[in-house]
């Protein structure tokens, strides 16, 4: 059969069509690259925004005060009842003797954080001999001062719209030129709990809460997940019960996390009476949430152990349980651990179910155990993100940086373990 004009590979029409077809392919490829580019651009945008707005929180403005701990400030035996606020104020007034009037004084006092008095109190309680002496001390500045120093307050705005007034600005400059204002590493952020004052707020209590919660989650979900995976992969007969379990696990893996919070609220807290807001109940809820992930990972890991291992063990007389626990499990364990770490990373970032079980409380104290009220890192981020103060935005980003740091670390360990222990059969 003769090729017709349109199908003849040498006809101009054919060539034109071929060109068109390849053009279509080119544009499709461009769309694909564009899609990937958009996704990655967004990732970069997100991470850089958070880094840019968060890195400054690791530095904090401090003010140097010359304090005199006169005996008259301590009328009571109990040193904690001393007038530390008064000491701080006196020190400020001596630096700016021209200040008079209540409004003016208040503006001046507002330059220094409430934490200054607490810091003095801690020092005096640690060493009562300080009373009666004079010394210099660096105390945290108020968050507004800190924001100004970090360039987050626009002094071109009309005075009424600013948190730093003109007079305060002048004094801050005076302090700065006198070498009494300094940006220092923000130790408070890592060593204290939540606070209403941004300059005193820290992530330690939230981080510890997260730690205790994850310990519970790990202790429960790893053994249970591995046991379930072993049963389903090695022993389960092919029957309705097994099907039911499998359907349930697959479904639970896709159930919205907030539903697990409702479960925790209704059963763990209201029915069992486990105290609210504690790492214990948080860990239980997160256990149920991460179990499907761990089971699925552990099963995949068991599946990758070749049947020859099992047959060899059974051949020399091991029982089925011995085969699994002595031979299959050790070979599958690295894979299971990798899956567990990824599950833990998920649990660390989870927020919604913790809101349901009351881990949103304002926690100043650093939790010391599984039944102390605690927040968790992501919940702390949520709480700070809701706070109106400008300075908390910076803290939120900083907390996110820390959280992402932990997540990256966990995932890196998982990847390393996968590479290191991966067995090629």
């Amino acid at each position: 059969m003769q090729p017709t004009e349109s199908t003849n590979a040498f006809s101009p029409e054919f060539n034109q069509r071929l060109k068109r077809r390849y053009r279509a392919e080119q544009s499709f490829k461009l769309m694909g690259i564009g899609a990937i580019f958009i996704a990655l651009a967004f990732l970069v945008f997100l991470l850089s925004t958070i880094l840019m707005s968060g890195y400054s929180a690791f530095k904090q403005t401090y003010i140097k005060l010359d304090v005199t701990l006169d005996k008259e400030y301590f009328p009571d035996e109990d040193l904690a009842k001393g007038d530390f606020q008064g000491i701080v104020k006196a020190s400020l007034y001596s630096m700016f003797p021209e200040v008079s009037g209540r409004r003016d004084k208040r503006m001046l006092n507002n330059l220094v954080s409430k934490g200054a008095a607490f810091k003095l109190m801690d020092m005096v309680e640690a060493d009562p001999k300080l009373i009666g002496t004079s010394f210099s001390i660096w105390v945290p500045a108020k968050d507004d001062v800190d924001m100004l120093m970090k360039g987050n307050i626009d002094m071109d705005q009309p005075e009424a719209n600013r948190r730093i007034k003109d007079k305060q600005y002048e004094r801050i400059r005076t302090l700065e030129y006198g070498g009494r204002l300094q940006m220092r590493f923000n130790k408070t952020f890592f060593t204290s709990g939540d606070s209403r004052e941004p300059e005193l707020a820290g992530i330690l209590s939230a981080a510890k809460g997260s730690f205790y919660t994850l310990v519970i989650t790990l202790l429960l979900s790893f053994p249970m997940g591995v046991a379930a995976a072993i049963y389903l992969e090695e022993f389960a007969p092919d029957n309705t019960f097994t099907d039911l379990i499998e359907i349930n696990i697959n479904n639970l893996a896709a159930v919205p996390s907030i539903i697990f919070g409702l479960l925790g609220l209704a059963i763990f807290i209201n029915f069992w009476g486990i105290p609210r807001s504690t790492p214990l109940v948080g860990g239980l809820v997160l256990t149920l949430m991460t179990l499907p992930t761990i089971i699925i990972a552990a099963r995949a890991s068991l599946k990758s152990v070749p049947p020859s291992i099992r047959e060899a063990a059974l051949g020399v007389g091991a029982s089925k349980i011995q085969t699994v626990f002595h031979h299959v499990l050790p070979l599958a364990l690295p894979g299971m651990l990798t899956g567990t770490i990824i599950g833990m990373a998920q649990a660390l970032g989870e927020t919604a179910p913790l809101l349901m079980i009351g881990m949103v409380a304002f926690i100043v104290d650093i939790p010391g155990g599984f039944t102390d009220p605690a927040a968790a890192l992501p919940v702390q981020i949520y709480l700070w993100a809701d706070s109106p103060e400008r300075a908390f935005t910076e803290k939120t980003s900083a907390a996110i940086i820390i959280l992402l740091g932990f997540l990256i670390l966990m995932n890196a360990v998982a990847v390393y373990m996968r590479k290191k222990f991966e067995i090629k059969w």
């Binding site: 077809r21 990655l40 919205p256 409702l262 479960l263 209704a266 992501p378 949520y382 993100a385 959280l403």
Partner: protein, 460 residues
């Protein structure tokens, strides 16, 4: 508090049970001519003894822990003066006061009556705990003694131990079933209580959502309205925006990566896309509220649109980005499952790569892709933190994506966070919404998983 030492004590005794059992087995074996005379290894006898000590004791301990509060509460309520008992609300308040006093929290009332009740409560609890502790030790002792006595060369310890281990394995896998059951029960019961107050059809078809209950009868704006249609509509709008972002980007990048990209590019880009899935949702929420929402607002202002500061658009956009890796990795799996023979056949007929993708691979993979998209939709509907932080609370029934809408998850969070009485329709409404959310996502997941599985079987 000796009770807190009970669990370690049980564990310790269990371990020592193991050693006792094992040494007895070895002794028995030595009298009969060596280990080979035993039915099982000495370790099995040890494990049997250890399990006999541990299991009943742990069971009793766990049982008590889970019912302690309700038992003690019941006892103390029975002793309360009759006039208190008439109102269930005051009883639970009273109980709360007692517990707060015990926990050493600052209580509002310095009522000596409560102090006395608290002491009484502590005493009842102590008594019960003593009884339970004694029972636990008795159980351990009896079971240990019986097992220890029965150790002989003929005892089939390994079979017994293995049966127990297998039972434990089964129990652990059944946790999945218990969890589902727990979810259904906890959500269902509270939801039923809610529907006793608010009729089901009003909840499902009512057009106003304003979940308030009057504290006083004559209060202004006291009538709560529980018509959830605006909430559902808001949820779907945000999910739809998210899917409009996620489906094209996710699908295109999956197809590009699996069919067009070279190996090097793929191994580099794929993990980077996965990072998007690993970022906690609270981070996306913060980002949506702090950066994306003002951006959209400013852009809207530029085009003369009025955009609410908590628009559906911002939440939906960011949620879509979050779901991209989800869509792309599921589609990637599905596309990989399409057999190479189909591709080769297509190339053999002279099709270009794009034509192969468009006319052969995509139709072949479509059921699986749809399944993956359904899973992604269920993810979008159930997503909480992004909408809590970036979408509003106002239950507007609108089709304008630049207005503030609210979602099911946002309402659940706002209704339940903070201290609430558990018998007002306001808190119960959260459970009703939770029930709807659970059932909806369950159906979606079920269909999606079936479709994906069926599709996979087709090519295997």
């Amino acid at each position: 508090m000796y009770f807190s030492y009970l669990l370690p004590a049980i564990l310790l005794l269990g371990i020592s049970g193991f050693f006792f059992g094992r040494s007895k087995a070895i002794r028995v074996a030595n009298t009969q001519g060596g280990i080979q005379e035993l039915h099982s290894l000495p370790n099995h006898y040890g494990m049997l003894t250890g399990l006999a000590v541990l299991l009943p004791a742990l069971l009793l301990y766990g049982l008590w822990i889970s019912i302690e509060t309700s038992v003690v509460d019941k006892r103390i309520v029975n002793e309360l003066p009759a006039e208190l008992l008439e109102d269930t609300g005051t009883v639970s308040l009273y109980l709360n006061d007692i517990k707060n006093t015990l926990a050493g929290n600052i209580t509002v009332s310095k009522d000596p009556e409560i102090g006395r009740a608290a002491e009484r409560y502590a005493k009842i609890k102590r008594n019960y705990r003593s009884i339970v502790t004694a029972a636990v030790f008795a159980l351990m002792l009896v079971f240990a003694a019986v097992t220890y006595q029965s150790i002989s060369a003929k005892l089939r310890a390994r079979n017994l131990v293995e049966t127990v281990i297998k039972a434990i394995l089964i129990l652990c896998s059944a946790v999945a079933i218990f969890t589902t059951l727990g979810i259904v029960l906890s959500v269902l019961f509270e939801a039923i209580r809610f529907f006793q107050v608010i009729p089901l059809q009003e909840f499902l078809f009512g057009l106003t959502w304003s979940p308030q209950m009057a504290i006083r009868a004559d209060q202004v704006g006291s009538s709560g309205a529980f018509g959830a249609v605006p909430v559902f509509a808001g949820t779907f709008m945000i999910a739809a925006i998210a899917m409009l972002v996620a489906i094209p980007i996710g699908l295109l990048s999956a197809i590009y990566l699996s069919e067009f990209a070279n190996r090097k590019f793929r191994t580099m880009v794929k993990p980077m896309l996965e990072i998007l899935a690993g970022i906690p949702t609270v981070v996306y929420g913060f980002f949506a509220a702090l950066t994306v929402a003002p951006l959209i607002r400013n852009m809207g202002g530029f085009f003369g649109l009025s955009v609410a500061s908590e628009s559906a658009m911002a939440a939906g956009l960011v949620m879509g980005i979050m779901i991209i890796p989800f869509v792309s990795s599921l589609s990637d799996d599905v596309i990989h499952a399409v057999p190479q023979t189909l591709r080769d056949g297509s190339y053999g007929l002279g099709a270009t790569k794009f034509e192969t993708v468009r006319y052969v691979i995509f139709p072949a993979a479509l059921p699986g892709i749809v399944g993956g998209i359904l899973l992604a939709v269920s993810r979008a509907v159930g997503e909480t933190m992004i909408v809590v932080m970036a979408a509003g609370l106002a239950a507007n029934l609108t089709a304008n994506p630049f207005q503030a809408v609210t979602t099911v998850t946002v309402q659940i969070v706002t209704l339940l966070v903070g201290d609430q009485e558990f018998d007002s329709p306001k808190t119960l409404a959260a459970f009703a919404l939770g029930l709807v959310l659970f059932v909806f996502t369950l159906i979606l997941n079920f269909i999606a998983l079936r479709v994906v599985r069926k599709y996979r079987e087709q090519y295997e």
